[in-house]
């Protein structure tokens, strides 16, 4: 399993996995994931993992695995997620959160991701 994340809590917890840490925003994680799907990686988790919106939380974590064919369904999911990101950012951009709130967003992203992939690690 390969983990694409910009969440330091996810990077720290999944330190035995192949974590490709993205030093960027939510969109950068989506774009990195899309690029990997185009290189025949298969999407394992849904890119819109919770009800916290892409213009609220700055953090995103996504799991993929090596494959030998294009994951067409996964490509549609990640392209749709990028479209949702753009739609919501157009109305209201992600605010500059305080440290305390950033930590809460990290915890939620980490918890949803851990619950999703616990069987896969």
């Amino acid at each position: 399993m390969i983990v694409i994340t910009n969440n330091p809590k996810v990077r720290a917890y999944f330190n035995t996995c192949d974590v490709q840490f993205v030093d960027g925003n939510y969109e950068a994680v989506l774009i990195k994931t899309r690029d990997l799907v185009h290189q025949n990686y298969k999407l394992l988790t849904h890119p819109l993992s919770g009800s916290v919106k892409p213009n609220e939380t700055p953090y995103k974590s996504i799991a993929l695995e090596v494959s030998n064919a294009l994951d067409v369904a996964g490509l549609l999911l990640i392209e749709n997620a990028i479209e949702v990101y753009g739609k919501l950012q157009k109305d209201a951009r992600t605010p500059n959160w305080t440290e305390r709130i950033l930590l809460d967003f990290m915890v939620i992203d980490f918890d949803l991701f851990k619950n999703a992939v616990v069987k896969a690690i």
């Binding site: 999407l43 394992l44 988790t45 849904h46 890119p47 819109l48 993992s49 919770g50 009800s51 916290v52 919106k53 609220e56 996964g74 999911l77 749709n80 997620a81 479209e83 949702v84 739609k87 919501l88 157009k90 109305d91 209201a92 605010p95 500059n96 959160w97 305080t98 305390r100 709130i101 809460d104 967003f105 915890v107 939620i108 918890d111 949803l112 991701f113 851990k114 619950n115 999703a116 992939v117 069987k119 896969a120």
Partner: protein, 428 residues
């Protein structure tokens, strides 16, 4: 399975020296209520306030809303797996304090939402401005983790509803509604010429502040299964989620799910409502595939002619909704899907993150991105500072004059995806 729901109409709530229902008023011994819900050492304090429709009060952040109910006869107890043993519920008689609600508030995360205004324009958007609310304010001890805090507040809500529900045990209800679902073969024999219909009830199950429980089980760990509809009315399904408050089903909504309630209205007349298939909304894509395979398999196995499928939440559940719809339709079964929309503030963008031509019968609870200005109200219960940082809020939401501008996704129950509100969108 046959359940009588005895509705005890509550028209006022008052603090008093004894908890009881008299002449349609729920009198509450505040100290006894606090004592009944106390005991969790993760909480620093618990307080209770009473709020009535029309009062100039804003409650936020609302975590859950729970209806006071009590099992009078039949197996099991209310909220099985949490406050009662795991005996099967849904039979016998249950009394409801109709018109009263327990509302829990607690700031579990800094960006939490859930606004209930009891008056003004915001009141039109939440069903819980019309209930007499017993607001339980639970404050955590310093250093409590978010998971523990969530669980503690969740349990306080259930305990308060149970404690108040007990006041209705020996009260003669104002009305009694009877709901009955027979075992599948018996039901098919009784109504051989009616189409068989079921409800596919999607439960949000992704993690912290995104969870739902069935008989005490974390529903992300289930595979889809069958419930008698009346089991839901006795608290078999309870809420552990509140993020994006507009389209989350509080426990109150599970207990009063309008899809179940309304399907019973013409059960045995126009169709045979055979039961509820519960399923989950997990983040792992293989879980989504498995669960939607199972809903389709169960729908086929039951010989259904039609299903109603309701979604809960934003984003990845759109994929579950469409998977369920596609796979059940592919079995030759007619489907109607219930959802809400994130179509942008102007309503012009794509509403869902997934779609398919099989979803051609779709009912929506409205556009959650729509904005509203909520005026300053006289009294605030909870933490108003969270309004600046909630879903649907944004920098500057909380204005200097005390009014707030938010998307309606911040309002509890505004775009209910089971239709527990008044909004929809129509195509002409």
């Amino acid at each position: 399975m046959r359940l009588e729901i005895g509705n005890i109409m509550i028209k006022d709530i008052q603090f008093a020296s004894k908890t009881e229902v008299k002449a349609s008023t729920l009198y509450i011994d505040k100290d006894a209520l606090i004592s009944a819900v106390s005991g969790d050492d993760r909480l620093k304090s618990i307080d209770v306030e009473l709020v009535r429709p029309g009062e100039s009060v804003r409650i936020t952040p609302v975590k859950d809303v729970v209806e006071p109910r009590v099992k009078v006869s039949g197996g099991g107890g209310i909220f099985p797996g949490f406050l009662s043993k795991v005996d099967t519920v849904g039979e016998g008689r249950t009394h409801v304090l109709k018109g009263a609600a327990v509302v829990t508030t607690g700031k579990i995360v800094g960006f939490q939402e859930g606004i209930v205004d009891m008056t003004g324009p915001g009141a039109d958007y939440t069903p819980f401005s019309k209930t007499l609310n017993v607001v339980v304010i639970a404050e955590p001890k310093e250093g409590i983790k978010q998971h523990e805090h969530e669980e503690a507040v969740r349990m306080v809500g259930f305990k308060a509803a149970k404690y108040l529900g007990e006041a209705g045990r020996d009260v003669e209800p104002d009305s009694v509604d009877v709901y009955e679902t027979k075992p599948i073969f018996e039901s098919a024999q009784t109504y051989p010429n009616l189409p068989k219909v079921a409800y596919v009830y999607m439960l949000q199950t992704q993690g912290l502040l995104h969870d739902t429980y069935v008989y005490g089980v974390d529903a992300k760990k289930i595979i889809p299964t069958l419930l008698y509809p009346t089991e839901v009315m006795d608290g078999a399904v309870v809420s552990g989620n509140c993020v994006s408050a507009c389209d989350k089903n509080p426990t109150y909504v599970h207990l009063n799910n309008p899809v179940i309630h309304d399907l019973y209205k013409l059960h045995g007349v126009e169709y045979n409502f055979v039961g509820v298939i519960i399923t989950n909304e997990n983040v792992y894509l293989a879980d989504k595939e498995r669960s939607s395979n199972w809903t389709a398999k169960l729908a086929e196995y039951l010989g259904l002619d039609g299903v109603i499928i309701s979604e809960e939440g934003f984003g990845n559940p759109d994929t579950d909704l469409i998977m369920n719809c596609k796979k059940i339709t592919a079995k030759g079964i007619k489907t109607v899907i219930l959802t809400d929309e994130y179509a942008g503030r102007d309503g012009a963008s794509q509403s869902l993150a997934d779609s398919d031509p099989s979803g051609d019968a779709c009912v929506t609870g409205g556009n959650a991105n729509m904005t509203i200005v909520l005026p300053k109200l006289d009294r605030l219960i909870g933490h108003v500072e969270v309004v600046d940082v909630i879903a649907g809020g944004f920098d500057g939401s909380l204005r200097a004059d005390g009014s707030i501008e938010v998307e309606i996704q911040a309002i509890t129950g505004a775009t209910s995806e089971v239709g527990f509100n008044k909004m929809t969108a129509k195509t002409y």
